[in-house]
Amino acid sequence: MTVAFLQLTLGLYFIGILLSLVYLLRRSDVLARVALAATCIGFAIHTVVLAIQVFSGEAGVTFHKALSFFSWSLILVFLLVVLLQRIYVLGAFLLPIAFLSLISTAVLPSETPVLHPMFQAVWVHVTLSMLGAVGFAVAFVAGVMYLMQERLLKSKQFNVLFFKLPPLDFLDTLNQRSMLLGFPFLTLGILTGAISAQVTLGAYVSWNPEQVWALVTWVFYFVVLMGRVTVGWRAKKAAYLTIVGFAGVLLTFLGVVLKGNGISVS
């Protein structure tokens, strides 16, 4: 049942992605609307899937749940931004990330890499970290779009993509806001992670790769945000920095995944 729903969700998101990509090259808004409709339906089914995954009684926080939650939150943010700002073009950039993270739940072996529920509140750590990652993913996408639009403006290529991409200052603001949104979540995620490590392993930090990467990422985003406020690291520089920062987020993810059994192995 869940598998069928998950496949349906993936199918709808995939349609959304394909249409959003074609929309990049076409003038008409119709494609984008259809893509949005497909994504909305997919999101509704995804919500059901997520609820089943979370409340079905399977103990512990699995990667399936975590990645599914990440994907769901990302789509939620996407829908909010699109419905409020009518920036349809965002779909071509954000949807693939959500899709990849959701499809990886289908590829990863089911239930093996479990974060053991030794500490009851480990889900708090995972949820907060995932929300942080959502913020940085949006910042990353805004950065990529910023650089594309900047390049098109500089090279005077007034093509369809140029018309589709939002104004630079909008992208810069989106970049900043999503970073400001993601950073507190990442901070709290790391703190709760450290506390759960203290409870289960007796040490706040055990210096395994994903912890190191998480700290490096946190310091990096801290510096980027500070730079923005104090010395004007905005626009192009901020775009580049958020792209690099998101690589750090991905490496942390990868670190956790590769470790397989997560915090139970130290």
Binding site: R27, Q149, L153, K154, K156, F158, N159, F162, L165, P166, P167, L168, D169, F170, V231, G232, W233, R234, A235, K236, K237
Partner: protein, 466 residues
């Protein structure tokens, strides 16, 4: 009744010839009277713009009408000879003339496809013709239809969507850097016409503040008043550049006024917020190396031109969609014209009367019960007699009207009195004002149709160059 058109446009004649045929507004009445004086011309309208001079007319005979209008053109200017003019003139009749009018009004035949001025010019010409009683039922209908077709084309296609003027292109590009212009400041360096026009567009889009600088203090005060702006001494404008989000440069200087270092300093002072520079001066006033400065976006006149060229291409694509709209609408108006012919109306009237007679007879006969053949014949004879006598007058009038020049007025009236074929698809809107095709009605309609283009609204009509 034939709808005909004779004229010349930018496609067939050079400006030197076109301007000779242009009639000044003050002498329009005289020109229209001269046109209507030609034999066989029933209705007429003179449409003239910078790009075309055309006469639309309703004539008794097509060929006779063509030569009458050609004669009218030759008489318009002393220095124009028939030999010089004839090869430049195009002559169309009926559906081709209607199609041409619809295409012209929809700006499909314009030099810049999709430009909005033409519709206003069509309306003006129509008004002029109405004022001088030159048009009648057919042209009134046709031109109002042309105006509504033009509006349909505007709303259903993207033909007029993107900027095709340099000054407006600057606004369009600025909007790709700044989403909300109302929080932005624009700095105007110099007092060049194009930059002023672009600044006007920006102000129309709600720019927050205008800074001005020019070497001439009188002009500076003048411009400060026009844009409600703040004047800055010319020597200080570089130091103030960081205050501006958009810098518009158009001076007569023969050297670069703004160097990459100036822009770098401004961007630094702006904490890397993008700055948008437009240089419409020739020779250029902003060093092209400014392009290399991060977060600074420099556009010169060529860049704006290429942006416009792209938009023009876009318009050409949209034009094919517009052409099909025009084709549909021509069909509709042709149907209406068809309905004005006498024979079908006479047949329809007879059919209608016959049907009514039969229906009433059936009712009466069933009520009377069984009748002898003689009685039945008498009743039927009574019905036929009344119907035929009643119809005799209208039918004779219609037949004779068909031969006369304004017979369609009778025909249209008959169709309305007897409710004949009013349900032809798309015809309802066409029929509304025919019978009372008075000038006042048509005028009202023109007055109520406002289709100003935001791109053009503040530009004087003559200055747009269209």
């Amino acid at each position: 009744m034939n709808i005909i058109l004779v004229g010349m446009s930018h496609k067939t004649a050079p400006i030197e010839l076109r301007e000779l045929l242009a009639v000044p507004d003050s002498r329009m009445g005289e020109a229209l009277n001269r046109l209507m004086a030609h034999e066989g011309i029933r209705e007429g309208m003179l449409l003239q713009t910078c790009n075309r001079v055309e006469v639309y007319a309703v004539a008794d005979q097509v060929e006779q009408g063509f030569s009458a209008i050609q004669e009218f053109f030759v008489d318009t200017h002393l220095s124009v000879s028939a030999e010089q003019l004839m090869p430049r003139l195009y002559c169309h009749a009926e559906d081709r003339a209607i199609t041409h009018l619809f295409r012209v009004a929809s700006s499909l035949d314009s030099l810049v496809v999709g430009e909005p001025q033409i519709l206003r010019q069509v309306k003006d010409s129509f008004q002029e013709a109405l004022t001088h009683n030159a048009t009648g039922v057919i042209l009134n209908k046709l031109i109002k239809k042309a105006i509504s077709v033009a509006k349909r084309v505007r709303t259903e296609t993207r033909i007029a969507e993107n900027a095709v003027s340099v000054s407006y292109a600057a606004v369009e590009l600025a909007k790709k850097v700044f989403s909300d212009l109302s929080a932005r400041t624009v700095m105007l360096v110099g007092a060049g016409e194009m930059a002023k026009l672009a600044a006007q567009h920006l102000v129309n889009h709600g720019v927050h503040e205008v800074l001005l600088t020019t070497r001439d203090p009188v002009r500076a005060a003048d411009m400060a008043a026009r844009f409600n702006g703040v004047s800055i001494p010319f020597e200080d404008f570089r130091a103030n550049m960081h205050r501006a989000d958009i810098v518009l440069c158009s001076t007569g200087a023969s050297h670069y006024l703004i160097a990459p270092e100036d822009v770098e300093r401004a961007v630094r002072a702006r904490w890397n917020q993008p700055i948008f520079l437009i240089d419409v001066s020739v020779p250029r006033n902003i060093d092209p190396d400014v392009r290399q400065v991060d977060n600074a976006f420099l556009f010169d006149i060529d860049d704006l031109e290429s942006h416009i060229e792209q938009n023009r291409e876009e318009r050409r694509l949209e034009a094919t969609h517009a052409e099909s709209i025009v084709k549909d609408e021509v069909e509709v108006i042709l149907k209406w014209l068809q309905s004005l012919k006498a024979t079908p109306t006479i047949i329809a009237l007879r059919k209608r009367a016959d049907a009514l007679k039969q229906a009433e007879l059936q009712k009466a006969l069933s009520r009377l019960g069984p009748l002898t053949p003689e009685q039945q014949e008498a009743v039927e004879g009574l019905a036929s007699g009344i119907v035929n006598k009643l119809l005799h007058g209208p039918l004779v009038a219609l037949k004779s009207a068909a031969q006369s020049s304004n017979g369609f007025v009778y025909i249209e009236a008959a169709r309305r009195f007897y409710d004949l074929g009013r349900s032809l698809p798309g015809q309802e809107s066409v029929n509304d004002h025919d019978v009372r095709a008075g000038t006042d009605v048509a005028m009202d309609e023109i007055a109520s149709t406002s289709t100003e283009d935001p791109e053009q609204e503040r530009i004087p009509r003559r200055a747009s160059g269209l």
